[in-house]
Subunit: 263 residues, 2 copies
């Protein structure tokens, strides 16, 4: 279950309803991708400002239904409620039911020392100044994750989708797996015009971050790049950094970049 | 999936967090009771005002966990997000997964002409002036609904839980089943100090309303009264009232009582 809230995850005022509904669903589907699971159905709960109007509510549900259908995930239930106050923000919570593929669900908790850390796609710049950008239009990596777990089998140890940002999400894997993750700044694949600090610190990429041993495909689904960006090392003990980034001879922690202790 | 929103379904300012969490869960469990299903697990999505605080968030989740556990429904997932603005209201959406008992789920859509209409418990007065009352502390009728479907088998034709109020919820059955429902005002079981108009018009009773043929237990779970309050009759055609109430020689429609066309 995940949520999209006006003012937090998008700006209703400047975002087409089709993209509001799309993001509400794809954000939850991305969590399913992170487990290499296959969606079965979705339930949505929406709270609307009192004067939202039946026509726009219908358009929002149509968008959610269409986005879910695109990933073979029928909308099987829902609830609409209205806020008491016109200033209260639209909220969509979407619960996706899913089943594991290839017999197991991948979690954040399986990273092992000496695993290589990989990321799909290119990171950063997902939220544009005007509120638009990839954070509204991304494709949850469901097919790619299923392909990956099929190819790697038990060599795929842990996975997460990048919603909070590479740094924070890597620390989620590190914490759940009781390891440290070392990233190489020079290898982080950055979106056009984005430097590695922004690529590691911004969020809403909805790419896959995973750790594995052995050979890994260089591409998934024929076109999505897979890049090795680091390595799993032993836990440094209480209070030590969960994630470090090596940039040339410098070693930088999340604290210095502003994300270590947030989540 | 169902939701509880500050300012709509309760007042956060005057309601103990334990009851906020409880209602968020029991409201969704009551929907499960209405289908005579057995809960399997719950997922919650909460949006909190920005200054809510970790301790109170924890208390809220503890309350949700406890309420769910009371009905053998483990909390299996959740998400917390924060509003951008302190004036934005707490929202809890709760999705409950459940499985049918005795081989089928009961819906609103099975009422048949000549069915008798029954209700459990006593209606009205669930929301007190001060914001407290049964709407915060009710017991979802899960065990009672399962007992009922076990006792009646295929003679139990339709069921709903009373959240919108007897009149509106009866019209939901009538509409889904394409029938008319006639209620007898004198037989509506009213809570102490409540007249039948209030009992039919108010909501949040979370009792079961159902239609069936043949013998029906006078009590469920040893103590919950079951009262026959009306009958199912043929649909009156386009625009005719879905629900009428006979009070002595008078026939009153929901329109006159203010609820026919709301939902």
């Amino acid at each position: 279950v995940d949520q999209v809230i006006d003012g937090r995850h998008l700006r209703l005022e400047t975002t087409p309803l089709a993209l509001v509904g799309r993001k509400a669903v794809t954000r939850s589907l991305s969590d399913i991708a992170a487990m290499a699971a296959r969606p079965v159905g979705a339930l949505v709960a929406v709270v609307l400002p009192p004067e939202f109007g039946a026509e726009r509510a219908e358009a929002l549900f149509d968008a959610m239904r269409a986005a879910a259908a695109e990933y073979d995930c029928p909308l099987i239930g829902g609830d609409i409620a209205f806020h008491a106050d016109a200033a209260h923000p639209l909220t969509c919570s979407v619960t996706v039911l899913a089943e594991p593929v290839h017999g197991r669900a991948i979690t954040r908790a399986g990273a092992e020392v000496d695993d290589v850390v990989y990321v799909t796609g290119a990171l950063g710049g997902a939220v544009l100044e005007d509120g638009g950008g990839k954070h509204l239009t991304f494709e949850p990596r469901i097919a790619e994750a299923i392909e990956l777990t099929g190819a790697l089998g038990p060599r795929l140890h842990s996975m997460i989708d990048l919603s909070d940002g590479l740094g924070r999400d890597a620390s989620h894997i590190a914490e759940a797996s009781n390891v440290q993750i070392e990233l190489d700044a020079a290898r982080i694949p950055c979106a056009a015009g984005v430097d590695w600090r922004a690529a590691a610190g911004e969020g809403e990429d909805y790419e896959l971050l995973f750790t594995a041993t052995g050979d890994v495909p260089a591409q998934l689904a024929g076109s999505l790049a897979v890049t090795a960006i680091g390595r799993v090392s032993p836990h440094r003990g209480e209070g030590g950094p969960m994630v470090i980034i090596r940039a040339g001879s410098e070693i930088i922690t999340g604290d210095e970049l502003g994300w270590q202790h947030e989540s």
